[in-house]
Symmetry: none
Subunit: 357 residues, 2 copies
């Protein structure tokens, strides 16, 4: 009956946002982890680092400017940015702003606000990512604290595009001491190339010294988006409704927040915080986002959107329903935003199909 399903918590939070306008913040970052051959499906081989750049160009303008064709995975799975853009066309976000959290190629966009934080792309975690995690975290908290007064809309949707981000997200959660989480993270692949991913994570974890503190650990095995967003959440401090639009990468952000709170003996009111993802993540048999969310000491409302491509015959789109790609560029949260403002599955499907014409 409803297009929005509860993962954890209750419907009330998301229902209270019905009819309201959101700012769409898109956190973009590169990690050289993506250069490990075969580790991700999110992008074009050899040009994976362009994925966040192209995704953001497409969401903002409908054009892919830093390359001739829109990012497709090797099997031809189109970027989930298609869904985000489709919603934006039919029920626009109040604002779209980009967070450059270490991009190799700056999106070719005028007029759109690109927040720069002087953060470099991070290294591959199989050989120490080399992030100044404390600094990136602090930049996140400061941005969160100051952003409240800059936000012109009723709430914020925070999305991400980070190629090979599920690998860094998994390594991060494991390195922070969460147990039995390795098989709970999702992948952009239907048939996950586990050996490559596992090897990478194993190498990443082997670099951790038993004397490393929290931020030293994150600096070795994580990525800028995960660390920055954790800071952003803490800086924003529940002052405005915030939707984390993503799958298990956003779950990893929350696990960082949880670990920081535990380490500092702090508390965070999370009544204005929620995670929204796709049905492809929520119903994925090879991962378990619900368990990841429930590892946190704080309570969280989380939801998935009852959207698939059952109304489409397009072979590239059907791949989503077969388990490829699943989430990214805030697709799940964007779809929920569309449904909260009266869009139908038919309308969104038709718009996505339009992009292929």
């Amino acid at each position: 009956m409803s297009n929005i399903q509860v993962i954890t918590g209750k419907k009330d939070f998301i229902e209270s946002l019905r009819g309201k306008k959101a700012t769409f913040l898109l956190a973009l970052s590169n990690t050289d982890t993506a250069n490990i051959e075969g580790i991700t499906q999110a992008g074009i081989p050899g040009l994976l680092h362009l994925t966040p750049t192209l995704d953001s160009e497409f969401v903002c303008t409908g054009e892919v400017r830093s390359l001739e064709n829109i990012a497709k995975t090797p099997k031809g799975v189109p970027t989930p940015a298609l869904m985000t853009r489709a919603v934006h066309l039919q029920n626009p976000f109040g604002d779209i702003e980009l967070l450059n959290l270490g991009l190799k190629a700056v999106p070719k966009l005028d007029y759109f606000k690109i927040h720069n934080f002087d953060i470099s792309p991070s290294g591959s975690i199989d050989n120490i990512a080399g992030i100044d995690a404390q600094e990136v975290f602090q930049k996140g908290t400061e941005f969160g604290q100051s952003y409240l007064k800059d936000c012109k809309n009723d709430y914020i949707i925070l999305a991400e595009s980070v190629p090979s981000g599920t690998t860094t997200a998994t390594a991060t959660a494991m390195a922070l001491g969460y147990e039995n989480v390795e098989d709970k993270f999702s992948s952009s692949f239907k048939n996950v190339p586990n050996s490559i991913k596992q090897d990478t994570i194993k190498k990443a974890l082997s670099n951790i010294d038993k004397n490393d503190d929290l931020f030293e650990i994150l600096g070795k095995v994580s990525d800028n988006m995960l660390i920055f967003n954790a800071g952003f959440i803490l800086g924003l401090n529940n002052q405005i409704p915030l939707i984390l639009a993503g799958g298990t990468q956003m779950a990893s952000v929350l696990l960082i927040v949880n670990k920081i709170l535990q380490t500092m003996d702090g508390k965070l009111d999370t009544s204005n915080l929620a995670l929204c993802t796709t049905s492809w993540v929520a119903n994925d048999k090879n991962s378990d986002i619900k368990s990841l969310i429930e590892l946190n000491e704080f309570k969280l409302n989380s939801y998935y959107v009852d959207f698939d491509f059952s109304l489409s015959n397009h072979p590239a789109l059907k791949l989503y329903d077969e388990g490829e790609a699943k989430e990214g560029v805030g697709a799940g949260g964007a779809l929920i935003y569309g449904f909260l403002n009266g869009l139908s599955k038919e309308q969104i499907t038709e718009q996505v199909e339009e992009f292929f014409k």
Copy 2:
């Protein structure tokens, strides 16, 4: 061609609201008058007092939480809240806020604003309702005065859910000295159980003392919603467009306003005030809302929505077209809000039918 028809006044007021966003205020109250057997069709026998609670839960979340099934009348007429929710799904209100004007069961809702006024459910009017009418009225005026700065949207739709409210509305108008009004009020029944209603009203009027002042009269024969809303209208004082979304109960609210103005020798600019109801009320042969509106000294724009279930084959919905139920939970005003923002009769009908799947 237009879905909005004039009852009194001109189209201009409602047309000027086309495309604008409304706050939906839902005034909820219980009167023990509803406990008189057979007096109302709005709710579940034995659990009539839950009707406003369930209606508000359903409008806000799509879920009925204080009971297992959505409120149906004995003949199975579904609550008009279905239409209000259908519009909210397809063209959301900017905000929904609830006014607790004496509820036996508080709606089980988080995040949604429930304004509490420390008002108790009122007694049955056949044995003196026992309302401190001056206090309830004053709470309404104070809320109206303060609400203007709290309203984030372009205008306000004020709706109600009060089981057996047409009985108290009729008694109120008669007790205030309006003549020949008894047969002008509508009923949730197609075949109105006149003897029960008439007996109740007769008993209510017999309790009035010739020395009773206006508020003493209201305290004996009225209900909290009628009195509070009259105060709200006067407190708001035409500062923002206000739609009274309801049928003859809202007409009774206006008759209270009119009587208060006459008593105090006051004037109210009503250029920003309108009443919106359903076609089932406006075209009801057993009542006459137009005459009730025209009893007031002030001019008023009033409208009904050209919506029925002629596009549906659902037997429960067809009962509306046969004269059962008619209005409530702001259905008429909500439908007009939907049409003012581009919804079609087909879309709304399909969404209402969805609720039965």
